[in-house]
Amino acid sequence: MKKPFENVVAEHGPMVLRVCRAVVGFDDADDAWSETFISAMKAYPALPDDANIEAWLVTIAHRKAIDIIRVQKRIAIPVDEVPDRPSSIGVPGSTDHEVWDYVKFLPEKQRQAVAYHFLGGLPYGEIAETLGGTTAAARRAAADGIKSLRKTFAGQDSKGASQ
């Protein structure tokens, strides 16, 4: 049986926010999250009882993120450095935080594949449906993203990859 929408927000809200932060960046993530959940709440009554809620939310988040990325590209403020931000996502300077920072420098497709698979928990088949293209391509994009993260990460911190 489908739960009240409050339960959906409580159970999946944090996961969706992590996905949004990875795909559109920290500053625009709140907007992406808010638009995702208002849109999901509108559509919720029509969602089939047996639907995979996580996949459904990540798909909506993906569409909202694309709109935001489009606007970001139009505005096109060059970012040379990682800006300072509140430490609500972890201890500043911690290893976790650093990996996180590198995600946003990945190409769009890789960033999406990494976020939807490793943060959203979506199987590659579903990611392929969301992004378009084949399952193999989605898997490759995520693998390339991870490979590139590992390289950057290891380059920045020699202990990194072995921690």
């Binding site: 049986m1 489908k2 739960k3 009240p4 929408f5 409050e6 927000v9 809200g13 944090p14 926010l17 992590r18 932060r21 709140d30 999250w33 808010s34 959940f37 208002i38 709440m41 509108k42 919720y44 009554p45 609500s88 996502i89 972890g90 290893t95 976790d96 935080h97 990996v99 996180w100 995600v103 990494v114 490793f118 943060l119 693998a143 991870i146 490979k147 993260l149 590992r150 990460f153 990859a161 072995s162 921690q163």
Partner: protein, 208 residues
């Protein structure tokens, strides 16, 4: 195992464990969702909980009005599930819509209020039950009626048992005062919030 796989596992573990949003962030986003859902007209049911001398109460309102008051012993998750099935699953914990109701209930328990001035949504009951529930607010503060008297007043003297079930299924206890209905011999009968709560309400009202 090749090194590629090793690297992937470690990085993905780091990603999976990284950056869980803080509780404050989630609360802030939740408040923003409450507001925009209200503005968009899709907040079908808003609810909140409040502490009272008879325990935690859940208050829920549609856009039409207060639709449900529930006692903790009814299992509040189950109450919300039922609201979802019967009315809409577009439910959020959004206390703002319940401000007036919560305020009046507080006043009632502080003995500063004898009647409630709230818009009610009676859509959870129908027919004879709703007829009975509409009569109940006419039983004054500190007064009681018997199930039999209520049956006679609503025009169906034989329906004593049906009055009992109308009281037992009252979706708006306290605000719709089913606690003021007793057996003919003066014993309590039943109560949705438990007999201790019924006694507490009657004693409080009688003490004024």
């Amino acid at each position: 195992m090749n090194t590629d796989t090793d690297g992937e596992l470690e990085i993905s573990d780091l990603l999976a464990n990284t950056a869980l949003p803080s509780a404050e962030t989630m609360e802030r986003l939740h408040r923003r969702l409450e507001e925009s859902a209200q503005q968009a007209g899709i907040l079908d049911i808003a609810y909140t909980t409040m502490d009272t001398p008879v325990g935690t109460l859940l208050l829920a309102a549609t856009e039409k009005g207060l639709v449900r008051v529930a006692y903790e012993n009814e299992d509040l998750d189950k109450v919300l599930d039922t609201l979802g099935t019967k009315i809409s699953r577009r439910i959020l914990k959004a206390p703002k819509r319940l401000d007036t109701a919560a305020f009046e209930i507080d006043e009632y328990f502080e003995r500063k209020r004898k009647t409630f001035d709230l818009t009610l949504d009676l859509s959870l009951s129908s027919g004879f039950r709703q007829l009975v529930q509409k009569h109940l607010p006419q039983i004054g503060y500190g007064m009681t009626e018997s199930y039999k008297q209520v049956a006679a007043i609503v025009g169906n003297p034989k329906a004593v048992r049906a009055v009992g079930s109308a009281c037992a299924t009252n979706p708006l206890p306290i605000v719709v005062p089913c606690h003021r209905v007793l057996r003919t011999d003066g014993t309590l009968g039943g109560y949705i919030g438990g007999l201790a709560a019924k006694t507490a309400l009657l004693n409080m009202e009688a003490a004024v």
